[in-house]
């Protein structure tokens, strides 16, 4: 067997140009497959961890996925609001550690404007416990202060100190702007890879203030003066939804039941992890299609190997005849060809793994800063090993074809090549 391994290796080395091309083809396909698999895992992880550390999300009674969509992903609108009284009722419950109120409805150049409180910057977690941090500036303090997400800052080239105007409603081309009460950017958040990046954050009170002189979607009269605002009560009458953190995890279900059974107002309290999982299952088809595509590329790579090995069979009949004349059995010829395919597959897979690692080393920081996708460089995970095993198995299976053909031919040719 050792002699055969050596023969297979030397024979391959003798054809190193085509061998290297074949290995490169397999390597690139394997890199793609592993890359897609890793991206898939990380995307899923990242998605499922869009909200973490939040125990419950509370909104008007709705389907959990819908509540998730508008409260976390800022997609669509709430069917109804939550009254301030109901919010206070939950927030003041002794089992509740903290709450983050969310008020949506306005926008800035296509980006949603979120009214919230300072608790947002303190308690919001994503990607398994990462807190929000500031790339520049600080949380809002004054009434007309705004904190923008990383994507907003990048796309609109905003920096701290810029003045922005909030539009009424969520349309991209809305004409109704609160241009009488502009905001000042006081903080820019670090990229998170979550919808936070695409959000303009202001205080609940500010949202209340800019709507003081609005009724039914149009502006009435002059903007309130600073004195008027100072005298006015800027507590909102309702908010869109709120996040809840409980004191002890065990209390989560008790608080959830209390909210869901709340008589005064129909409310829903959802577990974000469960709803995220449901939403991901809806989107899961895409990732599976991606993986299937990558698997097809690997198959194409292996078929390339099949072609390359088959193409050599004719010119190698003499080689096989010589081996037979010095005592090789047809099974030796079979093994020689099998080992050759095995070498090509194993080297291709190894090279693919190295390529991916190298690619990740280069691309990971870029992906993280540009898209908020966290890709870890390192040893393949269990599902990746499984895929690699499948590729190797498929490579050996494909290798059976030329090996069997060479075996048949070697039996027929014997020591003389009939041409």
């Amino acid at each position: 067997m050792r002699a055969l391994l050596r023969l297979a290796w030397l024979s391959l080395a003798n054809r190193r140009f085509t061998a290297l091309l074949t290995i490169a083809t397999i390597a690139i396909s394997v890199m793609l497959l592993l890359g897609v698999e890793r991206l898939r895992q990380e995307a899923r992880e990242g998605f499922l961890r869009t909200v973490s550390g939040t125990d419950l999300i509370v909104g008007a009674r709705a389907n959990p996925v819908q509540l998730l969509l508008y409260s976390v992903f800022r997609l669509g609108d709430a069917t109804n609001n939550v009254s301030w009284q109901s919010y206070r009722m939950v927030a003041d419950d002794p089992r509740v550690a903290w709450t983050i109120p969310l008020s949506l409805g306005d926008s800035h150049r296509g980006y949603r404007v979120l009214g919230t409180s300072g608790a947002y910057f303190e308690h919001l977690r994503y990607a398994g416990g990462r807190g929000l941090s500031f790339a520049a500036g600080a949380p809002f303090e004054g009434l007309y202060d705004a904190v923008i997400g990383a994507e907003v800052a990048r796309a609109l080239r905003y920096s701290v100190g810029d003045r922005i105007v909030v539009a009424h409603g969520t349309g991209r081309a809305t004409l109704a702007e609160h241009d009488d009460q502009p905001f000042t950017v006081v903080g820019i958040l670090e990229r998170t890879g979550t919808p936070v990046d695409q959000t303009v954050h202001v205080s609940l009170e500010a949202l209340e203030a800019i709507h003081k002189n609005w009724r039914f979607g149009t502006r009435i009269g002059e903007a309130p003066t600073a004195e008027q605002l100072a005298a006015a009560d800027l507590t909102p009458r309702s908010i869109t939804a709120f996040y809840v953190g409980v004191e002890r995890k065990l209390a989560t279900f008790a608080v959830q039941r209390m909210v869901n059974e709340y008589r005064a107002e129909p409310l829903s309290a959802i577990l974000p992890g469960v709803a995220l999982q449901q939403l991901w299952n809806l989107l899961g088809g895409v990732e599976r299609a991606l993986l299937a595509t990558a698997a097809c590329v690997v198959l194409a790579g292996l078929l390339g190997m099949l072609t390359a090995v088959l193409a050599t069979l004719n010119e190698r009949r003499r080689e096989m005849a010589i081996l037979r004349s010095v005592g090789a059995r047809p099974s030796h010829v079979l093994w020689l060809l099998l080992l050759e395919s095995a070498f090509l597959t194993v080297l291709g897979v190894l090279a693919g793994m190295l390529l991916l690692q190298a690619g990740l080393l280069v691309a990971a920081p870029l992906l993280e800063s540009r898209f908020g996708v966290f890709l870890s460089v390192g040893w393949p995970s269990a599902p990746e090993w499984r895929l690699l095993g499948l590729v190797l198995g498929a490579g050996f299976a494909v290798g059976l074809v030329p090996a069997f053909l060479a075996y048949r031919r070697s039996v027929a040719d014997g020591m003389t090549v009939r041409t």
Partner: protein, 239 residues
């Protein structure tokens, strides 16, 4: 002298034809004794390569008996036939004898990779396979170390044939079968090659069956046989 050793090659009532084809081989009887040198004269079309494949065991006859070194090739399983070939027969062909991706020494050592018997005999004689290969190469006029390490394709045809001869002789098989090994060489080189081959066959104690259509080489052999006379199915092409 002890009892006469069995003939290294014995053919008896041998018949072969491809399925549905005309008979190609029909040999009543033929023997080659140990250490004998036989010139087998055969123009193309008289069943030369078929006979070689039958002796090698890569073809099986329809009828008759083939014995190599006293062991029956005919009727044996494919596995046994492959072993008998590896153990007892060395082959030299007309051209293209060597594997291009192996060094000269590696080419010579090749039979010992497939035959434990020839490996042991080579080791017993020379201590290592490499030493055995180098001794044979040196005896055949290829003693240059740089040349021995070279890839087989870097050699001239004459040199390649001598490497092939060394490969056929390593591990001292009982029988060496040469199929037109000199046809690619010029006349002077032919005789030189044959003298070297004879000397090394005698050294290894191997019998030599030399198949060729070149009559000029005939006087160099102690025994000659016309394959057309031997093979009753021979239908030589018009020359």
């Amino acid at each position: 002298m002890t009892a006469t050793p069995p003939p290294v090659l014995r053919l008896d009532g041998l018949r072969f034809a491809w399925p549905g084809g005309p008979p190609l081989i029909d040999i009543g009887g033929f023997e080659v004794g140990a250490g004998e040198r036989v010139f087998l004269h055969g123009p193309s079309g008289c069943g030369k390569s078929t006979l070689l494949n039958l002796v090698a065991g890569t073809l099986a006859p329809q009828a008759g008996r083939i014995e190599v070194a006293g062991e029956a090739v005919s009727g044996a399983s494919e596995r046994v036939r492959d072993r008998l070939r590896a153990d007892h027969v060395g082959f030299v062909f007309q051209m293209f004898n060597l594997l291009p991706y192996l060094s000269v020494v590696d080419n010579v050592v090749l039979p010992c990779r497939f035959s434990a018997r020839r490996r042991q005999r080579a080791l017993a004689r020379d201590g290592s396979l490499e030493a055995g290969a180098k001794r044979l190469l040196a005896a055949l006029g290829l003693g240059d170390a740089a040349l021995q390490a070279r890839a087989a394709t870097g050699l001239s045809v004459g040199q390649q044939q001598r490497v092939a001869a060394a490969r056929a002789l390593i591990g001292a098989p009982e029988l060496v079968m040469a199929d037109e090994p000199t046809s690619a060489l010029d006349h002077d080189a032919r005789e030189g090659f044959l003298q070297l081959l004879f000397a090394e066959c005698a050294q290894a104690g191997s019998a030599l069956v030399f198949v060729s259509h070149d009559h000029t080489l005939r006087p160099l052999f102690e025994r000659h046989q016309d394959l057309r006379a031997l093979n009753r199915a021979a239908r030589p092409e018009a020359a």
